[in-house]
Amino acid sequence: MSLPPLPESAIDIGAFAADWRAAVALSGAALARSGAAKPAYAAEMIRMIEDHGPYVVIAPGLALAHARPGPQVITNGLSIVTLSEPVRFGHAHNDPVRVVLGLAISEAGAHLAAVAAVANIFNDSSAIDQLAEATSAAEVQQIMGVTPS
């Protein structure tokens, strides 16, 4: 099972976000920097949460921000933003968020291996804390099991 690419350009350490929209926007900006998505993908990610609520906060401290496959996605990719100050998404149990995992998927149906690879990492319950406390992109890549490029 292979993780979608997570290059250094898609990692943002200790970023400041005033609210959840800003946090998701940073996550989308990181996907745009790495070439996985177009800049407008960020607005689609935000709209998913506006439409469906803070369900993207899938574990304590972790948001999985994403939208549907579509014209704003260039290729499969991940981004990771760690927040200098935790941000509330409005989730009843898993707030506040310290790590935003951005996901761009180019094709529905082909994504489950990628999602399974992500799940494998986070089934280790210490992974979120480790990411939140990482001080370099290389450290984030190491936690995610990515060979630095």
Partner: protein, 90 residues
């Protein structure tokens, strides 16, 4: 047995739920087909399902169904999934 996992786009949380539900089912030594879908397709996809796994936000939209709707809080917590699946199937 059929289990459907539901989220907004049908790729993110429902995918994580599918992967971890399959893991929990293996640990419980149970067999089931697990399908991930977005909430707009729930009526069709879950028509013959025994269990719908989802998060709190989608319960209202899923509405009336013959399946047991099971709400998961921490999608990476396989022990939560195991307990809730065991309860729903027991």
């Amino acid at each position: 047995m059929k289990i459907v996992t539901i989220c907004g786009a049908g790729i993110g949380s429902s995918g994580v739920l599918k992967v971890n539900a399959e893991r929990a089912l293996r640990a419980l030594d149970l067999e089931a087909t697990v399908v991930a879908a977005d909430v707009s397709n729930v009526r069709v996809i879950a028509a013959d399902a025994q269990i719908i796994l989802t998060t709190q936000e989608f319960v209202e939209t899923i509405g009336k169904t013959n399946a047991d709707v099971v709400v998961i809080v921490n999608l990476f917590d396989t022990s939560e999934l195991k307990h809730k699946l065991e309860d729903a199937l027991g």
